[in-house]
């Protein structure tokens, strides 16, 4: 292997500044997209477990569409196609008028896509509780909505902390797709450093370490939260 390693490129300006800024955009996109995904995904997940056929239908349709189109193609649909499909003035606003069009589009695309995944986690969390609890709640005179609000949702969320953690980490990794529409996040920065200095491997190494460190940190924190929020009396809660 013929390669001249030069690690000092990582602590040279402007490259160090690029990496820090890139990490900042990665975190910003991830967190804002997660807020959207979590909110919308929760609503959709609850919709899919109600007894109202139209609500279930909408939830199912949403999941099947968003889950079966590659995320990258969804980015392109929102960024390139949508502005051309709406009336001209709106299209111009989407392309130019909106604050930071690339960033906003990336957050929305990532959030809407991940909402379909969160929806499935919420749904399976609620469905895992079993009919006994619902029947008991209904027998006690709670309405379907009350049973959902006071019995199913609180238990379900505590149970799905592990899968939701991995969904958040997925969003964190998928935020790298924002580079395809021009957001200079962490992965894009590494490519940029490669183009400017031909020291790509140093930059890739730095990004690799940053991504895996953040992943392990989030997993560690979530494991603590998971321990505190265990639903007692369930299999696995005796740990």
């Amino acid at each position: 292997m013929n390669y001249n390693w030069n690690w000092s490129v990582l602590i040279t300006e402007p490259y160090l500044g690029w990496i820090v800024a890139g990490l900042g955009w990665t975190i910003l996109v991830s967190i804002l997209a997660w807020i959207l995904a979590f909110t919308l995904g929760s609503v959709l997940g609850i919709m899919r477990t109600t007894s109202v056929p139209i609500l279930r239908g909408i939830g199912t349709l949403y999941v099947e569409i968003f889950r079966n189109i590659p995320l990258l193609v969804q980015f392109f649909l929102w960024y390139f196609v949508l502005p051309e499909m709406v009336p001209y003035d709106w299209g111009m606003w989407l392309k130019r008028g909106m604050p930071m069009p690339e960033l906003t589009t990336a957050i929305i695309a990532l959030g809407l896509y991940t909402a379909s995944r969160v929806c499935e986690q919420v749904r399976s969390g609620i469905e895992s509780i079993g009919v006994g609890q619902v029947s008991a709640a209904r027998a006690l005179g709670l309405t379907e909505w009350q049973a959902m609000r006071y019995i199913l949702v609180p238990v379900a969320y505590r149970r799905i902390i592990p899968p939701l953690t991995s969904e958040f980490l997925t969003i964190f990794k998928n935020s790298s797709l924002a580079l395809t529409i021009g957001v200079i996040e962490l992965t894009a920065v590494t490519r940029q450093i490669e183009e400017y200095t031909f020291q790509g491997f140093e930059a890739f190494t730095a990004a690799t370490i940053i991504y895996s460190m953040i992943t392990f940190m989030v997993m560690g924190i979530m494991r603590q939260i998971e321990k505190r929020s265990l639903v007692h009396g369930m299999i696995g809660s005796s740990k």
């Binding site: 079966n68 590659p70 990794k173 991504y211 895996s212």
Partner: protein, 218 residues
Amino acid sequence: MGAFDFAVIFDNLPFLMKGMQTTLLLTALAMFGGIVLGTLLAMARISSITVVSVVAASYINFFRSLPLILVIFWFYFLVPLVLGQPVGGFYSVLVAFTLFEAAYYAEIIRAGITSVRSGQFQAARALGLSYAQSMRFIVLPQAFRAMTPVLLTQGIILFQDTSLVYVVGLKDFLVSAELIANRDQRLIEMFTFVAIVYLIISYSASQGVRLLQRRMQR
């Protein structure tokens, strides 16, 4: 941008089909390589030899913590350097996808292996089969049978993920469509077409998996 122009799709079908061939070939090869390597990793992961198990676990956790695009970048630049000659984008991304997917397949296969009751393995050993024979003839066949739906579902995810070769410009289905879209100024038509094709293929495949799952449960 005038009305929706179907002609641009029909005129370029052969070119698009070629792109789809690349997508499907990459999916199939990466899935095969990922499952083979994933099986080895899964067996290493549950090994009673601590070093082997720790190495496998580190590999799996490491790759699962990285964005696929970053892994593609790594190998796109690394593979030609290691081999000392340009090998073309396809082989570089194939290596990236295989190593990356193996980490995900390993976790699925591990769950499959551990779901086989331990009595099966013990009985095989008691009958005089070696470790390798017990795995090969008793445990793995049962494990693979049970996890076929999950493996196929991961294959559908992989099929969608191959679109990320866009970042290195490999001419798969999406990149082919994008080239035409930019050349003919037909972004709406091409990207909508791409989305619908992916939607139809992934949806049909996932319905097929669901059917298989239902049949297996009977």
